[in-house]
């Protein structure tokens, strides 16, 4: 008997628009299914619906969710609550907001279990040890905010596992984590499911993550399943054009590949389609794709895909060969846009940066890599002059550069531009995007009115934001578009150095691809860049040289090729080993072929 059987699951908003459309799948005990898709694909809604839960404003309108032998959706509210308690565990995306700040961890761990606290404590201690956390009373008495992000996520996992559920749902549990913490958490998830015979659904936007953890992979788009199959079937020989496009947008640590973004943007939830939901963005589209919704058909690899041209797509896909990209070479060692010498920085009494030194050549992209707490954001704030508690020397084009922003001349401020991590916070929500881009133009060049609008238009078009969006507000744009606007605002100043602080980490993988490709094209125009990230695969795609930071010190630096092909420092090796990669068929290092 199947552990989990989902048939025809449909979720609609209060206004009737369907956000999850006829989703069916089944899982055996101990099997892990990765559910992958972009933001708005309905993957998290499916995850919640597996517990018979829908967010405010949405309702489960049809289908069956059978876990063990219980049909969840037919239960009365009280029985459903009992079923959730016994049968299903849920691991939330962001444990920092999903654990109650006012309750001790011990209480939160025991409260969901049947029986009283004393009986359950031994079980809780056992589970905490399994997930690699301390299990003493002192730890149980802590509040969530006294733990690190990784520890919080482990507590959330322990909470879901402790009741020995038949099914466990992971809702993007590693999105906010460092690569190394993520690698450990994923390994743990796979182990726990195998050991306890639990079926699991693992929701993520990252194919590399899903490929690591899932036995089965299901790809969702616009509320529909577009492709499903085993891990190998989907990742090695994807058959649906959308799955292929998603795979092409994942950066690799092994090869410097051009990342291919998916054209257009994901449809808003509830959009109605006559034919195939992906037709508008598909490279293989034909007229008949738009006529009727395609059925799921078996692919030659063994999975199923919702595409009428499966065989054609597969044949033509394998013909594609990816050319590794060239690096910026022959740079003149003498000149550098920015040199950093012996930079030390601290917060109060605690020092966070020790003797950082590096150079940025014209047209070069220096990737700065490190985990959270490595000091990489403090470093970028020092460079731009926002962090005042620092010593050391900067030179810009051979001239000394004052460390504090207020001591820097207008010309220098204009030459160094900064793009923040979070495009939701860095754009003023009450300004249209055209205004956002025009503010620095007025400040640096005194451009107003028509002149400013023309320049703003150029800047926006350079980042591929059409001018007709100019009078929209940031809230009306997608995350990727907002990040492009933030980049356009920096470009409008005509800088010689762009500092990008984790600009892609809040974005979906497919959107990340488009932003990375955009930045690369700017580099071709001679712009120098400092690209701060925790993801080595992204550095491989865009960086010319890399600086690896650990606990405030540079542990390794050099050309991207040499550092990533032959890392010298154990920290870099560890980081590289923990960075997930998709085993792609066209990757030369992969020994499996589709």
């Amino acid at each position: 008997m199947k552990a989990v059987e989902v048939t025809g699951l449909t979720v609609a908003l209060d206004d009737g628009s369907v956000i999850v459309d006829d989703v069916s799948f089944s899982l055996e005990s101990g099997q892990v299914m990765g559910l992958v898709g972009e933001s708005g694909s309905g993957k998290s809604t499916v995850g919640l619906a597996l517990l018979g839960f829908a967010k405010k404003g949405a309702n489960i309108v049809g289908g069956k969710v059978v876990v063990g032998d219980v049909d969840l959706l037919s239960l009365a509210p009280n029985d459903l609550r009992e079923a959730r308690k016994k049968l299903i565990g849920f691991v939330p995306q962001d444990p920092a907001t999903a654990l109650n700040p006012a309750m001790r961890i011990g209480t939160q761990l025991t409260e969901g279990l049947i029986g009283d606290k004393k009986e359950n404590l031994p079980r809780i201690r056992e589970v905490l040890e399994t997930v690699g956390l301390p299990s003493d009373d002192a730890f149980l008495r802590r509040h969530p905010q006294e733990l690190s992000g990784g520890q919080q996520q482990r507590v959330a996992i322990a909470m879901a596992v402790a009741k020995k559920p038949k099914l466990i749902v992971f809702d993007e549990p590693t999105t906010g984590l460092d690569v190394s913490t993520q690698a450990r958490v994923l390994e743990m998830v796979a182990q726990l499911c195998a050991d306890n015979g639990m079926a699991a659904v693992f929701v993520s936007h990252d194919l590399a993550v899903v490929g690591t953890v899932g036995d089965l992979v299901t790809v969702m788009y616009a509320g529909k399943i577009l492709e499903t199959g085993t891990h190998e079937e989907v990742l090695q020989s994807a058959a649906h054009p959308y799955s292929i496009a998603l795979l092409d947008s994942v950066p690799s640590t092994r090869q410097r590949l051009a990342l291919v973004a998916i054209p257009g943007r994901a449809p808003a939830p509830g959009t109605k389609f006559d034919g195939c939901v992906f037709a508008d963005r598909c490279g293989f589209v034909e007229d008949r794709c738009r006529e009727a919704p395609p059925p799921m058909v078996a692919t030659s690899a063994g999975g199923e895909a919702r595409c009428i041209r499966v065989d054609h797509v597969r044949k033509n896909r394998t013909g594609q060969v990816k050319e590794p990209l060239r690096l910026v070479e022959g740079r003149e060692e003498k000149t550098s846009v920015l040199s950093v010498r012996n930079l030390n920085a601290s917060y109060g009494r605690s020092q966070v940066l020790y003797d950082i030194s590096f150079d940025v050549a014209p047209g070069e992209c220096v990737g700065v890599v490190g985990e959270s707490g490595s000091g990489k954001t403090t470093m970028s704030r020092c460079l731009i002059g926002l962090h005042e508690d620092q010593t050391g020397g900067f030179e810009m084009n051979g001239e000394p550069l004052p460390p504090r922003l207020r001591d820097r001349s207008k010309a220098i401020k204009q030459q160094m531009q900064y793009v923040f991590q979070n495009p939701y916070g860095s754009l003023n929500p009450r300004e249209t995007i055209a205004t956002a881009v025009m503010v620095p133009l007025r400040h640096f060049y005194g451009d107003r009115g028509k002149a400013a609008r023309t320049k703003a238009q150029e800047a926006l078009e350079r980042v591929e934001i059409p001018w007709r969006l100019a009078d929209r507000y940031p809230a009306e744009l997608s995350g990727g578009q907002r990040q492009r606007v933030a980049i356009a605002r920096a470009l409008a100043c005509n800088p010689s150095l762009l500092i990008c602080d984790e600009v892609t980490s809040g974005l979906d993988v497919s959107v990340q691809a488009s932003v990375v490709e955009l930045l690369r094209s700017l580099q071709d125009d001679g712009l120098s860049m400092i690209f701060i990230t925790h993801n080595l695969a992204v550095v491989r795609s865009i960086g010319d040289r890399v600086v690896v930071l650990s606990q405030g010190r540079v542990v390794e630096s050099g050309a991207v090729e040499s550092v990533l092909n032959g890392p010298q420092h154990p920290y870099t090796r560890g980081l590289l080993a923990d960075t997930l990669d998709v085993d792609r068929p066209d990757s030369e290092t992969s020994d499996l072929t589709g």
């Binding site: 654990l99 969901g112 109060g348």
Partner: protein, 336 residues
Amino acid sequence: MAIETTTTDGAVKAAPTPDRSRRTALAWLIARRALMGLVTLWCISVIVFVATQTMPGDVAKIILGPSATADQVAQLNKNLGLDQPLFSQYWDWLRNVLTGNMGNSLVSGQPVSELLSERIFNSATLTVMAMVLILPLSLLVGLLAAVFRDKLLDRSYLGVSLIVTATPDFVLGSLVVALFGTVVFKVLPPVSLIPPGDAPWQHPQELVMPLAVMVLVGVTYLSRLVRVSFIDVMESEYVQLAMLKGLSMRRILFRHALPNALAPSIPAASIMAAYTIAGSVVIEYLFAYPGIGSALVDAVAGHDLPMIQAIIMLMAAAFFCFNQLADVLGTLNKSR
């Protein structure tokens, strides 16, 4: 502002001894605020002094009545020290206050402290009783409104509370008096005269109406804040996770939501207490309740400067303390 930053930063940065540094920062915060309070009180005393000088009418004339001769008035002014220059009048008053002497009432000649002690007790009783009722009621009403959000109960509650908040206290008081005291039902005494020497709770009937008005005004305001923070908390991810864990609604409401919803309401409750003290002037006067509020109205009518000064100082100090308490509680809440 600067003080608050040090508290939060102190808690974050000095990792080895978070407790100690937080405590020192808090002690500093309280000390700075206390000093600020004294300066505020001094400023208020100057403003009140200047304001009383510009009031129309002459104290001596008011005391002696319309038939007094000019000589009598001048004599009395001299006795009261009102012929002195303004600055020295103020200086005398300030010196006395700093040595603990609030002066004598100009009208009755008795020491201000003696006249006020019973009044302070009466007012404090009324305010404390009001707050004791307001806090749990606001919590209950706010919680119910949040649970039945957008249902009929919630909507009608919002409508009523809006009307009550928009109506001035004395209008509300007059309506209550007309309804229960004079015109319609006549079940309660329309005035709350507490005989001198009696404690207010010996006359429960007299307390009902002033308390009712204070509680009505307080609860409609505070419960709306509770409602909003409760709704925020109920939509939080930890409440969603609690639902997904299969916990009972009762446990979710009282263990998961309530403690978190309470935190932002506590500073508001403290400010509420400050407003209750200030608002008592109108209520006490309306019901002729013998507290400091009605004493203030009498003192202003009689140009009784030492009384006015003493009462306003007292109210300002209480108002300031509760406001500061709200700030401190808010800061503690934030740094947690």
